[in-house]
Assembly symmetry: C2
Homo-oligomer: 215 residues x 2
């Protein structure tokens, strides 16, 4: 899914789209393993048997390419989060899996996730076109929806500023992903004290936040 765009296009457009896709796929492969540092235009060009300059016929900059990878990934996070809604399950469980899903999915591609919050993000990135929110923002909205629902159901405190609280939750998730992400740096050995398995850490982290929001 995702590519039913190919209908009614001229052969030229289809070819162009195909090459673009080839670039993205190669970039994805390298980026997922080695991040932005490992992904150089020359290496990418080499991998797809093109010249470095050719890539600039498809992407105006390396940044644009990375942005595309990142946004595609956040779309996946968003999808995963939307598959959660067990409306019949107790709300707490729903909230728990909502948060856990965000963290777990983000952790599957640490470099993609990191790209959303580092590097040069032009401030006007979303501002120019408020209707077309970036997927990373949509993911936040999804989180906010969960919080608002909790308040409405009387599970969370009624006096909560739902947006403010969502920012806290988001920040907390964000922090955990960053610290747990098995990037070369923070990696395994970063946390001090006895090591805990990821699963346990994620679960208690989510539970702690939910408890913080609850009545």
């Amino acid at each position: 899914m995702g590519e039913q765009v190919e209908a009614g296009l001229s052969p030229a457009e289809r070819r162009r789209h195909k090459v673009r896709q080839t670039i993205i796929e190669a970039a994805e492969r390298v980026f997922a393993e080695e991040g932005e540092d490992g992904l150089s235009i020359r290496r990418l060009a080499d991998e797809i048997d093109y010249s470095p300059g050719a890539i600039y016929k498809y992407f105006s900059s390396k940044q644009e390419l990375v942005t595309e990878l990142r946004e595609a990934f956040f779309e996946k996070i968003l999808e995963q989060m939307k598959e959660v809604p067990d409306e019949r399950a107790p709300f707490i469980e729903y909230a728990q899996s909502c948060i856990e899903t965000y963290i777990r999915t983000a952790l599957k591609r640490p470099y993609h996730y990191a790209a959303a919050f580092s590097g040069s993000r032009s401030p006007s990135d979303d501002a120019v076109d408020p209707d077309h929110l970036s997927n990373s923002r949509r993911a936040f909205e999804q989180l906010h929806h969960m919080v608002a629902q909790g308040v409405q159901k009387g599970v969370f405190r009624a006096d909560l500023d739902t947006y403010l609280a969502s920012k806290s939750i988001w920040a907390a998730c964000h922090g955990l992903v960053q610290l747990m992400g098995h990037l070369p740096n923070l990696a395994s050995g970063f946390f001090v004290g006895p090591s805990h398995d990821s699963d346990h850490l994620i679960k208690t982290h989510a539970a702690l936040m939910i408890r913080g929001l609850s009545e």
Copy 2:
């Protein structure tokens, strides 16, 4: 404080130390404003009227230089956190200001803070010499101390795994710093929805976590 090292050193050593300090100060100036990207060896050399190569007589790599800036900064965070302990005040207030101090101090130098959790951090950075914990780790220990105290005083839940909980708290602080840091990217416009002033956000964030830990 900090530089009473200069006693009993040969003139040569004193001169060397002085140049090293000059480099660090210039680096600090640039790095605080423009981060790792803005800090280039050539620019740094230019600023102190040395040749680029000369810097490598004092630092084996740019990474080492940045690490030194970062560690110096975490020492400051640590100091700030140690000035907090109003043991007579209610524990909740102590905990609140402990967390707030960490976040506020970190936010004063977003680039320094970010340097601790990005870039190439060799895994063996601390592992080789467990006695000499890096300042960033000491800051974590300080946080853990606070949590353990809370449990001991019966304010926090008795069944808490204090290390596990500290990791959560740390991650949550970390995330907020990252998202609030006025780096060019995430900056002002990153958060969605109505904008909240930093102070409010920090306060509620800390309160939410404390509430999550409490009985």
